[in-house]
Amino acid sequence: MKRHTLVLASTVCTAALALTASACSASDDTVSGGGTAASAAKDDGPAVDGGTLRIGLDRPFTKLDPADSTLTSMPLMILANALYDPLMVNGDNGAVQPYLAKSFTPNADATAWTLELREGVTFSDGKPLDAQAVIDHVNRLAKPEAKCACAVDAAGIGGMTVNSPTSVGFTLKSPNAAFPGLFTRSLGYVSEAPAGADNPAVGSGPYTLESVQPGVSATLTRNPSYWGAKGHADKLVYKVLPDADSRYQSLRSGDADLVWAETPSQLKQAPADGLRVATGPGSTSTVVFNTKVAPFDDPRVRKALQYAVDRSAIEKVVYLDQGKVSDGPIGSTSPYRAQGTADYPAHDPAKARALLAEAGHSDLSFEYLVDSRPEGQQRATALQQMFAEAGVKMTIKPLDPANLGTAMFQRKFQVMDFVTSMFGDTDTALASLYMPDAPYNFTGWNNAKAGQAIAAGRSTVDPAQRARSYQEAAQEVVTDAPMLFLTENQVGFLASARTGGLPDVSKRTVVNVSPALLWVKK
């Protein structure tokens, strides 16, 4: 470990210890390694039917309706997948594949798409999940009263037609070669509208709802009329366990069989505690600049800070060597990466100082907004020290998630921490974050060349051409630096030794597991 990394490690640990009892406590002799995925289902022996699988969620759910985008966020997909079947899913390396759909095919210029459905699929109330049901679902979520974040995606659909009971035709307002990717989340979790405000939407998934206390717990039982392979467990009990440390201890104590985990020290320690790990590179840590305010409207300033960051040190110190260094918006496992990677600048504090001097900001100081949770604080502490080496004074301002989101959405910040799963799907990430009028363009960055490249990529159905366009856009992102890329992080599930069927998700950029695959050993 380099000397400055050691110093950084001690600084970060000191900061972290003030925040959490478990930070930096993982022993170094435990299993390491990115993608320490499931030692896997093959070691589990024959599947066992029956029993109750108890799952600890890291965040509260409100409505059990795909219209609530929280339900289809990565940590809650294990709940969404029990009640609903997605039309499409992200497989290994983020590739979009059919699930409930049989196929999703474009015309020559990606302005019209045809969705073919499986035959004989029904909702849990017995009604058919057919082409009309898909159209009704999309129309319901597109309405303002549904309050679905997916409405912006649905707005790109010009029209929908029933070609046959199992075929839907979509006409788009503009070409979109990545259109099926929109059906991996809310739009794809086909549901019937809830019968009243207090009722959940009706899905076609392997389980149905027995009881629920919103934000607290939900109990599901097997759907007797499920179209596919039946779930192994008779019953699923979900509990919201918001504290990461007590969630981990619940797993160790046997109160839970499976929990969502993102804390690096826990992921590293878990095998030594007799727990199973199923993680994938589902999250990317970045730094976001508000390019609409000085001095971050000057690319030289952003570039200087890019040179000041030692990503390897952050990966070692904050993520305990379990992830990877990130080098741009095209993730390390993305199918578009085959065309080559963006040329990300190496750590060089001297160059950082020189660029700041050239830009007239030798005494740069700024406020850094960050999530108040331990990992965020550790990242911020590490960055603070790196920027200080380049003569930059960074003040850390921790915020709760709600205020952090407000600052980001309303672009009321100078520089802020941003950890996201969006880069798991390159198409969506590029279009949502870097197009000038994109809803998630938090940076306010407006780069014509990148915009044209992204638009060109989205309008071609030739994967090679799309990859070239995306690579061009990614290079612009890295060169102009509206964001800094830090690390690709492991996220996923920890399970007790009695949990069987845990799949290998080590190549999944979207860690999406169906609870129907899991069983409880007797």
Binding site: D198, G215, Q249, A402, T406
Partner: protein
Amino acid sequence: MTPTALRTAGRTAGRLGRAGAVLLLVTVTALSLPHLMPGSPALAALGPTATPEQVTAYEAKLGLDENVFAATWRWLGDALHGDLGHSLSTGVAVTTELADRIPVTLELFVAAQVVALGLALPVALRSAWRPGGAVDRIATAGAFVWLAVPGFVLGLLLIWITAVQLRILPATGWTPFTEDPLENLRHLVLPALTLGLTEAAVFTRTLRSQLIDTLDQTYISAARSRGMGTARLLLRRTLRPSSLPLVTLIGIGVGTSLGGSVLVESLFAVPGVGMLVSGAINGRDFPVVQGVVVVSAVAVVAATFAVDVLYRTIDPRIADERR
């Protein structure tokens, strides 16, 4: 009506007036939250993909289309009819949410007080009886250490010992009393210990000081000289007049527990008011936050009244002094 009764009625009316003013101020402040937020709270809650229609509908739900005083007036009118609005995230009535959560938090509060008083009373009495003795020195050092340990660290330690190592108690979760009283008790133990042990340290320090002061009083010396037994002297003559600050602390705790046990409830996944308000704050669910704030304020005011009444019962001299 006698002059004394008139004075009592006047004081009660004055107190009620002050309590009403406090509640009104808290209500206006709580209802101002969305108005006071920088930028649009609707955009903050709905995100950048919100359509103008969604923003307009959301702002109307929050009462942002009217001024804060009009919104307060309307809210108060609805509240008097038992309507605190509906959760923006779940659509459930706030009164229903509170009715589900308040019993859980109150149960936790009562259990924590039992733990705190069960530990503090004997330790404080023994410490005060022999100040500087072995028990007092250990209790004093222990209380300071205990007070320095953050609640979440204590909670995690208890989980590690009892749930992970000994496997005698559940680490997290909750079972309603009506569903399974025994399981309810098992789930109650760790959060109640976490809250109660910290409070026990505060109670012990407070009560010990008061007891020592009381034991210095001449009437205690007189009772001792008459040969009154230690137990009777401590429990009947000393504890009662020394317990006024303790009653105050417990009274304040009733109100603050409604919103103040966020950390412990989140740590142990106890579905009480703390966990409700924590989720509501993160989800910008203003009606729920407002409901919790106002109900907590009502609880604080009610607890203050109760403490006042208890003061007079515990120490009639207080009532006499005011006559």
